[in-house]
């Protein structure tokens, strides 16, 4: 299944993807310093985060304005599991992702009854409630200072890099596989015309909740990995900035495409790290870029995806 998809991508523009793949695989060998690898690791994780948002919004058409809830929630869950229950980081990351998926399922059911702007408002609220809890139960969550002093995934940047790259590749293939499958046809029909989809017998709310939970799971894994890589987390992972940052990544790269969000995520990560000295101006630059993209190139800077094959749907 996955091999077939891989062939499909490579057949369409093999040279480009081989070069890109080569560049990505060999990053630890040609990177000038550790800081550069670090940017790539964070870029990979943000790309996973952006892909999870893109799966929900770009393909299913359900707006989430608070995806930081899953990212930050995954981070907190994994860190607490590791710190208080001494669960090893890989297992903690997996469990945290699972918890995010389950909470996405539980929250998705009531949430997805409302649509459009109201859904955006509602999802916007969840990370803010989470922040309230984090601030109130300071003993466990560490308030503004966050949590540190837990195990990292590995001290080697190379291992971290490959792990995050494998995660990104997995999520990317998952996205492509979903979009090319019957499920992909269904979710795109929900995005394009929900009433029509319902009238041809698609259980719309079931699929919406399913994708919501899946998206939450992916974002949770990315957040948990991020927490174990940085070795300290703060409530900023849950802030509005984070939710809006992922939206900016996806819109700059190209909403509803497979490679656009990854490109956007890397672009934002690189800007983030090269503009460290004027950190207060970063958001202004993103806002300007976002506005320019929206007005001049609304489909995004790099809206590439492998062509969708339509097959007979049973």
């Amino acid at each position: 299944m996955i091999l077939a998809k891989l062939r499909l991508i490579l057949r369409d523009s093999p040279i480009f993807f081989l070069i890109l793949l080569g560049v990505f695989i060999s990053v630890p060998f040609w990177a000038p310093n550790l800081w550069f690898i670090r940017i790539f690791i964070i870029g990979n994780l943000f790309a996973v985060f952006a892909l999870s948002w893109n799966l929900l919004v770009g393909y299913t058409g359900q707006i989430s304005f608070g995806h930081a809830f899953f990212f930050g929630g995954g981070a907190y869950a994994s860190v607490l599991l590791n710190k208080y229950l001494a669960i090893s980081p890989p297992l903690a990351i997996f469990l945290a992702g699972l918890m995010c998926g389950i909470s996405g399922f539980l929250l998705g059911y009531p949430c997805l009854r409302v649509r459009g702007v109201y859904l955006a408002l509602m999802t916007w609220a969840f990370p803010l409630i989470f922040i309230g809890i984090v601030m109130y139960y300071g003993g466990v969550f560490g308030r503004e200072m966050g949590i540190s002093g837990y195990q990292g995934l590995s001290s080697s940047y190379t291992i971290n890099y490959y792990a995050s790259f494998v995660l990104l590749a997995l999520v990317m293939f998952l996205t492509i596989a979903i979009v090319n499958s019957r499920l992909g046809l269904i979710i795109r029909s929900i995005r394009d015309n929900e009433i029509l989809a319902e009238s041809v017998g698609i259980h719309v709310s079931r699929y919406k909740v399913m994708i919501f939970a899946l998206s939450g799971l992916i974002a949770g894994v990315a957040g948990a990995f991020y927490a174990h890589f940085l070795k300290s987390i703060t409530p900023e992972l849950l802030a509005v900035d984070m939710s809006i940052l992922v939206i900016i990544m996806v819109i700059i790269g190209g909403l509803g495409s497979t490679f656009g969000p990854v490109f956007g995520a890397f672009m934002v990560t690189f800007l983030n790290n090269y503009l460290l000295y004027i950190s207060e101006l970063r958001m202004m630059i993103y806002a300007l870029v976002l506005i320019a993209v929206l007005f001049l190139r609304p489909q995004g800077l790099l809206p590439w995806s492998p062509p969708i094959r339509f097959r007979s749907v049973k």
Binding site: Y118, M122, I129, I131, G132, Y136, V240, I248, L290, F295
Partner: protein, 283 residues
């Protein structure tokens, strides 16, 4: 008793914010997340100008500046994007964060002290109430009645109300939606800035208060119903009392301020998606 008096004055001041936001939302059907930014900027411009001009002129100058800024934001960005509500939310949220960070760059993150307009306090039924709260409440009542007069007794107000009720029909009758939307954005920003200068001395000023104000006005509009100013005002009474009660009952309840707003918002969205006083419409 303290809960009652504090809740009452707070709800009046919040009412100003919510009325402004309900106006903008009602006429243009867009969720302007920058609304809290107008609120925040109101206090910061006041902070800059009150040393130069004195208190009362600084109030007017800051309100004027914020109004112009809101007009520009709506004219350049939000009006051309008005047919895509989600994009409007994204752009205005990014802009709000950007402005908040710009303010941080200029003034720093620490809490600023804004001198109250009126000094002193008074004892009412055993509760000590500062004059600032009292006068803020009175000014809120005065402004809201001015707003009522404008909306119900003038021709432009009639146009605004027509646009809120039936957008297409109003446009057929010759009301320019662009003109009205920009005017209303200005009025909304004025109300936000005015209430900001009134409220902030009671609380504290930092660049992050934009989020509080935005959430507050959103909760008010969602509870009250889309485009219903009276509904938004009533909703503010509920929210202000809820907030005061929570902050009295729970120690360090200040952390739950935002959570209270959004919790109310979520509950209402689930129970009555079109609010309690809004008309039902296709979401």
């Amino acid at each position: 008793m303290e809960i009652f008096i504090f809740g009452l004055t707070l709800s009046l001041m919040y009412g100003l914010i919510a009325a402004g936001f309900a106006l903008i939302l009602g006429t243009s059907r867009i969720f302007d997340l920058c609304f809290g930014t107008y609120y925040m900027l109101g206090s910061y411009t006041y902070l800059v100008f009150y040393r130069v001009f004195g208190k009362i002129p600084a109030l007017f100058v800051s309100i004027f500046i914020v109004g112009i800024l809101a007009w520009l934001i709506h004219r350049i960005l939000l009006y051309p994007l008005r047919t895509r509500p989600i994009v409007v939310m994204v752009v205005s949220c990014a802009l709000a964060i950007a402005i908040a960070e710009g303010i941080t760059l200029w003034f720093g993150t620490d809490y600023k002290y804004i001198p109250p307009m009126f000094e002193g306090s008074i004892e009412i039924f055993g509760a000590s109430v500062t004059y600032q709260r009292l006068f803020a409440g009175m000014i809120a009542i005065f402004t809201l009645s001015l707003l009522w007069f404008y909306l119900n007794r003038t021709k432009r107000g009639l146009g605004i109300r027509a646009l809120i009720q039936q957008s297409e029909a109003a446009q057929l009758a010759g009301i320019d939606p662009k003109n009205v939307q920009l005017t209303v954005a200005c009025i909304g920003a004025w109300l936000a800035a005015l209430s900001s200068v009134m409220v902030v001395p009671v609380f504290s000023l930092s660049p992050h208060i934009w989020l509080d104000a935005t959430l507050l006005s959103f909760a008010g509009v969602v509870v009250g119903g889309l485009g219903s100013i009276g509904g938004a005002l009533l909703a503010m009474v509920v929210i202000a009392f809820a907030e005061t009660t929570v902050s009295f009952l729970i120690k360090e309840g200040g952390f739950f301020k935002q959570a209270v707003y959004v919790a109310i918002m979520i509950i209402v969205l689930l129970v009555r998606p079109h609010g309690f006083f809004g008309k039902k419409e296709e979401a």
